[in-house]
Amino acid sequence: MSVSLQTVRDQAWLAFEARGLPTTRDEDWKYTDLSRISALLGEQWWQAAAATEIDAAAFAIPNLDAYHMIFVNGRFDAEASDLPAGITVSSLAGLIQDEPDKTIELMAYHADAALSSGLTAANSALASDGACICIAANTRLDKPLHILHVNDGGTSHLRSSIEVGQHAELEIIEHFAGNHDASGLTNSVTAIRLAAGGRCTHYRLQLEAVKQCHNGRVEVKQSRDSAYVLHAVELGALLSRTDVISKLDEQGASCELNGLFVASNRQHVDHHTRIEHNAPHCVSREHYRSVLDGRAHGVFNGKIIVGKGAVKTDSAQSNANLLLSDKAEIDTKPELEIYNDDVKCAHGVTIGQLDKNQLFYLKSRGISEEEAKQMLTFAFADEILAKMGSQPVRRFIERAAFAKLPIITDLEGMLV
């Protein structure tokens, strides 16, 4: 390859300088004001944090039997990690040193210019580390791989790549965590490629510390008959924005995106998803829910694009939102762009309070109003978590999510 990694980085940096941070005048960022990032972190917000030590064990998911890959403040911690054998797992920093050529392709990607923002370009220019995983054809990893990113404030740029070979199967848990009072930015880009028949289940758990900002991007490219399942959970961070882009490029591919936001206080959570149906006979399902309390602000934008040749597309999207306080706000926009007549597409949005009839029903059975509200709120959110295959992850998230809502007083009683 003729270009060096440095050239790629320089180009990305120029792109970032040219574009800067998106503003609310950009249609895709209408509801999310990133000027808060520079207001919180200063003009040099993009500068990476210094290395410190954090005890990652404090962030473990109870009862989870998995391999672990631990990153502390954007740096791979080999000692704390427990990597699987039989598949290729390396850190981006290691890869840059050992096989620079291989990283060029990965770093050159700052996505479709039209779809990505200055933040993605900054990530390409500055990404210091990340998980690079490659699972060979016809292999199946016996346990999930838990990729934990912990920080104690400050900025980190993470770039991960996951390649799933033909008919290979992989379960990953991408977990962002922190427990500190400082402000910083986690800027993460994860590129996933599924070869024919490959399967990937992806848990993306955002449990950043209260004053952290989070910008995430997941881009998935799918080949024939591959299947991708995402469980995205947004609980932490002051300001968080995630873009999920799924490209169904070949026949028979399928993707399922499940998302849950639980936000309170002054949290701002934004998820933009984009599913591109580029080939015939692909299936997509998308279910997003949010529970917003305090002054929380939720944004959901789900875009489904069905291209000219993508006949027999089957796509469904739903978004339901529950506002628990009169200061909370939700802005949602489920979009369909369809260029072909042989499709089945549906989407739906609901926003509201708890159903009065359901409340009445429970009360008529002798359940107190508080308890009834608690049950219905729990059930509303848990419907998304129930789709998770991994019980330990589900329990972990349930405990973390419902602890945020004062309305839930007896959580343990409800976990069955």
Partner: protein, 484 residues
Amino acid sequence: MSDVKTEHKPESFTNREYEAGFITDIETDTLPPGLDEDVIRHISAKKNEPEWLLNWRLEAFRHWQTMTEPHWPNVTYPPIDYQSVSYYSAPKSQADGPKSLDEVDPKLLETYAKLGIPLREQEFLAGVAVDAVFDSVSVATTFKGKLKDAGVIFCPISEAVQEYPELVQQYLGTVVPTGDNFYAALNSAVFTDGSFVYIPKGVRCPMELSTYFRINALNTGQFERTLIIADKGSYVSYLEGCTAPQRDENQLHAAVVELVILDDAQIKYSTVQNWYPGDENGIGGIYNFVTKRADCRGQRARVSWTQVETGSAITWKYPSCVLRGDDSVGEFYSVALTKMHQQADTGTKMIHIGKNTSSTIVSKGISAGFGQQSYRGLVRIAKSAEGARNHTQCDSLLIGDKCGAHTFPYVEVKNPTATMEHEASTSKIGEDQLFYCQSRGISEEDAVNMIVNGFCKDVFNELPMEFAVEANRLMEVSLEGAVG
């Protein structure tokens, strides 16, 4: 099964010619193309307007010059040269203004007859008062006497400026301000005519009011401005129909419609738009860039927009409801058909401000041939809109594999007591439905018509009787041979 009846191919559908595409050969008094302050002064002087209106126009024009043309809609068209448009065109023989139908140029009456709305017949049969706008100047207003008895004012807006200046001055531009958007500003600067309606307190307008718009002259833009005021406790149903002759150039139509609804009043506004859509190669046709907005200022005010959009090369409009008064109600029912190379980016805005306001949106889009259609809607529930309610349903029907249907619904909710639902679906005509009908001896084309009619029924039911019949016919004619 009869083999003759199933011969329809998609091509025969796209080849369907525009039925209203004739040009009426009458002399017109047209300004040379171009736009500057002199043109505006000229228009204003021609209409013998008071000083305040001229200043209002000039202010709008100066503001317009600072604005840039918006490009966010999901439509594509070559740049418009605003200096090549003529901003005033009045039929010459109308210079003195007709007093009654008998004074109207018989050629004009013939035009309307060709369109299937013979004024006299309508006057007679349907009991509809027609205010026909022919290239920007109202040529005939019927049923004036009967309306006058009820206290209803229904006249061209230019006449209202002369006779009811205080009403016009009080309400003009209060719903759609002059600087609202690019096309509204342009319209404010150059509007030539339109309708003015005032329904006094407690009056139920004794008949349905109707205006017919038609663009006739070459290279003219039509900039009509409609202002309807429903005072406390009144009711009016207003119909508007539009056509334009067949021309190779694209013609611009940038109208503004303002509705003001006070306490307990109701306005029902129905549109059947059949502007020339261009030919099968996408040449010519009307650019229909319209700003329509209703302001429910009073408590328990109601407004309903019903539109059937089958024409125009490009349609770009969002009839909106500002639900300011408590318990006010906004409704939007729309059927839009795009075929050949037509493009439509249409929808509505429901702005909930008052308590217990409710809104309903039913949008049905049918896309065929190379048609591209977008539903773009906004439902905004402000913090003050306690107990607000919205239900949105937008369905698209696709016919053929080269068309597109897109949905961009914006939902912004700031009050937890609000309840809102949105559902949308996109599909093609069900093969099993078609098969079922055909197996019962119904031709493929009739079956498609039946299915499309059923698809649009929710909206057609909202149209006044005469329009419902016309709309049904329009759909049937437009869909001739649309079996893909």
